[in-house]
Amino acid sequence: MIEAASINAVMRTLADPTRRAVFERIVSSDEITVIELTRGSGVTQGAISQHLKSLKQAGLVAERAQGRNVFYRAEPEGLAPLVDWMSHYAVFWRERFADLRNLLKEIDP
């Protein structure tokens, strides 16, 4: 079972363009610090820290402390609820197409 409340957190978290950009930068690096994330981001280190907090709460990012540094990395499992949800509809529509084909065959032979 997927961790409770995660889908909403994931959707809200990624709806924010800045936070999504932060997440994508974390994904494209193996591990990254707040300082590196702040560099060139156009926002303050405090803002980046807030985004990291949201990403952690949504289960999208994990952290590892080493000495005075904290390294952040992406957590692929965090996106799983969205994929499960979307794949439900992908299967649903495949089945509807099959039903549609049968119905058409019946009414328009």
Binding site: I2, E3, A4, A5, S6, I7, N8, M11, L14, A15, P17, R20, F23, E24, V27, S28, S29, D30, A74, P76, E77, L79, A80, P81, L82, V83, D84, W85, M86, S87, H88, Y89, A90, V91, W93, R94, R96, F97, D99, L100, R101, N102, L103, L104, I107, D108
Partner: protein, 156 residues
């Protein structure tokens, strides 16, 4: 960036496309008749193929969601294009039954021996940029590949 482009970049679509050996007019009728919809999608309540019209469909309930899908007809272009909003779900749900604010677009185009029918179910909030998936575990990449396969053609 305008609002539509912004929305597009934030969401993923499910695309299914097939050619049917029937004329567009026949398929149009099956797509837009409430009685016929009940025989292959779900029986709609309050449906009329008129722009602005609200209707509902009922599917399997999940948690605090009673399974009602709230729809509104957005566009009707006979034998060519039929668009409706598709909303449902509840905040308390995870996965199936989670909040959904999406749009279903049917496009019909005549081909030699029938009709190409294209469904686009759009508005699924997912990180669109593939870089979001880069660097992730192989297991995850496999899941994404499967989804791509199910969803068919992806537009980038």
């Amino acid at each position: 960036m305008n609002a539509a482009a912004q929305l597009k970049s934030d969401t993923q679509d499910i695309v299914v496309e097939e050619v049917f050996p029937h004329a567009p007019e026949k398929i149009w009728k099956v797509l837009t008749s409430g009685e016929l919809m009940g025989r292959w999608i779900m029986a709609p309540t309050g449906f009329e193929p008129v722009e602005g019209k609200h209707f509902t469909m009922k599917t399997t309930a999940a948690g605090a969601w009673d399974g009602t899908i709230r729809c509104q007809v957005l566009e009707v272009k006979p034998n060519e294009r039929f668009v409706y909003a598709w909303k449902g779900g509840h905040e308390g749900n995870v996965g199936y039954g989670a909040p959904l604010d999406t749009v279903v677009t049917w496009t019909l185009s005549r081909v030699g021996n029938g009709t190409r029918l294209r469904l686009v179910h759009s508005g699924f909030v997912l990180p669109k940029n593939e870089t979001a998936f880069r660097g992730m575990s192989d297991g995850w990449k496999k899941v994404v590949r499967n989804i791509d396969g199910i969803a068919g053609e992806q537009e980038h």
